[in-house]
Amino acid sequence: MVGLDLLAEYLSKYSPILIFIVLALGFGLVTLALSYLVQPKYPEAEKLTTYECGSEPFSDSRMPFPIRYYVIAMLFVIFDIEVIFLYPWAITFYDLGIIGLIEMLIFIGLFVVAYVYAWQKGALEWD
């Protein structure tokens, strides 16, 4: 019965959120559909060209972009996971006592080592 009770509690707590997601999505799609029904539609070749300050677009936009963005994304993935590890520790802080504090200070120390390394390597520079 314990498992079923837990399931019932989860359902009662998370079903409003699911309903909200469905309603928000519905609001978006219905508004777009209604707007589609009432709006004028006069497509012209000139109108549908890509905007480039009034001149003819001279190349495709699917072009390479600086590797910096990729490096930032990688750093984000690494650091964000470390931040997520801090959350369970933070909410059980008062139960863990001194052991938890010391362990997490070591963990944050490792975080800082990675951070200083990325800084020294110039991954955070932007020029």
Binding site: P16, G28, Y51, F93, W126
Partner: protein
Amino acid sequence: MVDVGIKLALTLTQIASVMGIVLLTVALLTLLERKVLGWMQDRMGPMEVGPYGILQPVADGLKLFFKEDIIPAGANRIMFSMAPVLSLVPALIGFAVIPFGPTWNVEWFGVEFKPFVISDINIGVLYILAFASIGAYGVILGGWSSNSKYSLLGGLRSAAQLISYELNVGLAIVGVLLLSSSLSMVTITEAQTGGFWRWYAFAPLPFPQFIAFVVFIIASVAETNRTPFDLPEAESELVAGFFTEYSGMRFAFFFLAEYANMILVSCVATVLFFGGWDAPLPFLQFHGSLEHLEWLSGMFWFTVKVYTFLFLFFWLRATLPRLRYDQLMRFGWKVLLPIALGNIVITSIMAYIFS
């Protein structure tokens, strides 16, 4: 079975009112922003539509609704159409876990029910952060699928900015989670009730989270793409950034999402650092024989706090010039991140000493 039906009806009513209030607030904010900016620059702001221009949002909304929705020939049609919705939905559903008033468990028609929060889940903070990250997909997909150089650059800049500052948001709230021992927005608010000296931004013991609050609010301004961090849509260099190619209702959706996000981060800042619906001084809250009216004063104070933060957003926009991109990245990674990390270390040590 009847219980489930009543529960469903109550939940639907709640969701409909929250969505309605948020969308109306967005409409109001578009007017308020222009009025506030106008006053700060010693002019009147919009004055033409209705008395003192108060019907301007209606006129804007109708105009956008009836405008032709252009999809550029080179665009990736499916992603181009879906990106605005993908950007709007996460901004709206974050409100599902925000407690707008006192935590009551009332019984209506034999069903237990919390009137001022749609769902009190025990991972509320994590839920908001998770969906805030999904909002970044709308921005980058919109930028990439437009097949325009301005949009692509705007989308890339925006994605890098969003993820950089999201890290700081995530770090800034760890102190609050530590003090409240909970991820539930309701529990965090309840832990702060009793006056402004118990709000986490000011509570002197074990360590006031005011620095964390400043980091949080700066990172939130950056996450909502507001001035001085509005580089993704820097008009002078990128036309309109990731939504350059958008028109009509899809453009309006990006606009709605930006303003809904502003309201959401104001609500989150209110709940995490400023006690949510709690009154700054205890006697400013209805209690004792008037306790059944507590929700009225609670919602009043919540609204006051949220609008204070929204005013701050407008004020910043009127005051500060836009940062350069390298300054933006340097500030996020080299200034805010160490401060937020230091705050966690100090808070945890102080909390241990005073526990």
